[in-house]
């Protein structure tokens, strides 16, 4: 990967350097804000007390309890499966939809655009209950299928809007040039447009994955027994009183992913060797 001009250039105008420096500091502060509660929950996952109230002593027992809690781990697996499939479908529908709405002048483009935004505004309970009625009517047994259908419905608009922002002001000549050079529209889309949209597709996909992973109300109404998700399990446990086992679960999950993200380059090189 080629270095960006900022990193390469030895001397920057003072104003720009100052701006970059303060932007970096600002970003660091925002990351501190984002990770502060995470640090707290990891801290309490080592607490002997059952309650996240006072520090009583160090223990690994919640991690041991976690390893034995099959329903919780099963729910985590279900959540990951559902979030992954919902994200793939959302990215597919959202990206293609955004591109088509950009490229063609559809008759009902504005109505479609508005419809896309409705799942974002619709209160979760309204969507959950109306989908429950819909699924009952169509005799779909509640389970993985129904919950994924529901999740895609509220996730894909986020991808679509993110990709649209990126498409905005995209040089129209880009696709035309590719077509002039003899590429089929599909090839032009995949080889020319797609790479250009990738950053927005990634951020849209990340949002979809996160939303799906954390959705509770819509899931409750559209989910069956076999596909119980993690939020359902957590809200259930909350009735009995939350305990640090859930912190331990979050801690394991977060620390693994963060470590993976940070060391991914190293891991990649290791794998390439």
């Amino acid at each position: 990967m080629k270095l960006s001009p900022i990193a390469k250039r030895p001397l920057l105008p003072t104003g720009l350097r100052l701006l970059n420096w303060s932007l970096g500091a600002w970003t660091a502060l925002v990351f501190l804000f984002l990770y502060l509660p995470i640090a707290v929950l990891v801290f309490y996952s080592f607490n002997t007390s059952k309650l996240n109230v006072v520090w009583e002593g160090f223990t690994f027992k919640w991690y041991a309890a976690l390893a034995e809690n099959t329903p919780l781990l099963g729910a985590l697996k279900n959540s990951l499966i559902i979030a992954t499939i919902a994200t793939i479908l959302s990215v597919l529908i959202g990206t293609v939809g955004a591109w088509l709405l950009h490229r063609y002048r559809y008759r009902f483009a504005r109505s479609i655009q508005t419809l896309v935004c409705i799942p974002m505004i619709m209160p979760e309970i309204v969507m959950g209950i109306s989908l429950l009625i819909l699924f009952t009517v169509s005799q779909l047994e509640l389970g993985f299928t129904t919950v994924i259908l529901a999740h895609v419905t509220f996730c894909f608009p986020f991808v679509l809007v993110a990709v649209q922002a990126r498409l905005h002001g995209l040089d129209p000549a880009l696709e035309e040039a590719a077509l002039d050079l003899g590429a089929t529209p599909l090839k032009a889309f995949l080889l020319v447009i797609m790479p250009c949209l990738l950053p927005a597709v990634i951020s849209g996909g990340l949002m979809a994955f996160t939303l799906s992973l954390d959705e509770y109300i819509i899931t409750v109404f559209t989910n069956g027994l076999e596909s119980r998700t993690l939020p359902q399990e957590v809200f259930g446990l909350a009735r009995k009183g939350l305990n640090p086992m859930l912190n331990a679960l979050s801690a394991v999950f977060i620390v693994t992913t963060v470590a993976f993200v940070i060391f991914s380059e190293y891991l990649r090189r290791l794998a390439a060797r």
Binding site: V53, L132, I133, Q139, V220, R239, G241
Partner: protein, 344 residues
């Protein structure tokens, strides 16, 4: 457009009529209960003994249960409705009668929890666990006695109170203060309740029905109107949290076991109910959930500490009242609470 209309008509039909799904295998029990309310050990024990597989689907609120039950999708064999919901289900003919001759442990239940207003003939329900709503006080911070709702919501305790985020419970407290029937939500009574709640609301620091003990443990508040079970857990944590039933009167709630009309495995449901009624099984539930156990034989197995917990077994001389089905008044109470929260 036509398609949509067709779809909609279908929807109306499905909500009122009953759908049919593939038949369940024998040896199965579809239990639809409060999340975490039935301990895993109980489920495992039942399966080990009878070979009947229990699928335990859960809900976090009585209304969630009602919505899923009424939508008619899954056919549940056993549900856990609260008393006033069961009353409505009985009235609408949505429950299957329970055959007491099949429950040889039925006699373990204390008579005071039987033939109650929600099921006067004791035909459709069996008590599972019982609880109260009362006042919990952090006695390290609050030294003077707090005996009733008036003491709890007094101006002295401004910003030190947590209350259940439940319009009906709050309205009931106000009705008790007025000395009225706690199930009488006539317009006149609702109007009388309003100024009392309007006075109380600004003094309440937070409303929380799910985990009111959190704010008490954190020291953010010193008093609360909470579920007895929550108070019991606080007492287990620290004896400084004392629980009293308000002198003006208190709400007693009963969570029941009942068999829906459309159940497929009625026989298995009976087996499960009978299993739950065994003293040693019922004790397991008390160990996990420190609510009031209606099973006399099971109470004998509890530790002195469990029995001394005021949150689980409060002492009272006054008769406790249960909620009755109040039809659509719930909507009026909800509007009152929304309005009061608005003007704050």
């Amino acid at each position: 457009m036509k398609l949509i209309r067709k779809f909609l008509t279908l929807g109306l039909v499905a909500l009122t009529a009953t759908g049919a799904f593939a038949a369940n295998k024998k040896g199965e029990l579809k239990l639809f209960g409060w999340s975490e309310y039935v301990p895993q050990a109980v489920l495992d024990g039942f399966t080990a003994e009878t070979g009947i597989k229990v699928s335990y689907e859960t809900y976090a609120s009585g209304e969630e249960m009602l919505a899923k039950l009424l939508s008619g999708g899954t056919r549940y064999d056993l549900i856990q409705p609260p008393d006033y919901v069961a009353e409505a289900l009985i009235k609408d003919g949505l429950l299957t009668p329970i055959d007491q001759s099949k429950l040889k442990n039925f006699g373990n239940l204390m008579p005071e929890f039987l033939k109650m207003p929600h099921d006067p003939e004791q035909k459709f329900t069996v008590p599972y666990m019982v609880g109260t709503v009362g006042i919990v006080v952090n006695t390290e911070k609050i030294t003077e006695p707090v005996l009733g709702y008036r003491d709890l919501f007094s101006a002295k305790h401004k910003n030190r109170i947590v209350a259940l985020d439940d319009g009906r419970e709050l309205a009931v407290a106000a009705l008790y203060v007025l000395g009225k029937d706690m199930n009488d939500f006539s317009p006149a009574n609702l109007a009388a309740v309003r100024p009392i709640l309007a006075e109380w609301f600004p003094r309440i620091k937070l409303f929380d029905s799910d985990s009111p003990k959190t704010a008490l443990l954190n020291g953010d508040v010193d008093l609360g109107l909470v579920w007895g079970g929550e108070a019991a857990k606080l007492w287990q944590e620290n004896k400084k949290f004392q629980y009293v039933l308000p002198s003006e009167g208190a709400h007693l709630f009963i969570d029941l076991l009942a068999i829906p009309k459309r159940a497929r495995n009625v026989e298995n449901a009976h087996l499960f109910i009978d299993y739950i009624l065994r003293p040693e099984v019922s004790k397991l539930i008390s160990d996990e959930f420190p609510y009031t156990n209606p099973n006399a034989a099971a109470r004998k197995l509890l530790s002195p500490d469990q029995l001394a917990n005021p949150g689980s077994y409060p002492t009272t001389t006054r008769k406790l009242d249960t909620f009755r089905h109040i039809g659509d008044v719930g909507s009026a109470i909800d509007e009152l609470i929304t309005d009061l929260k608005n003007t704050k």
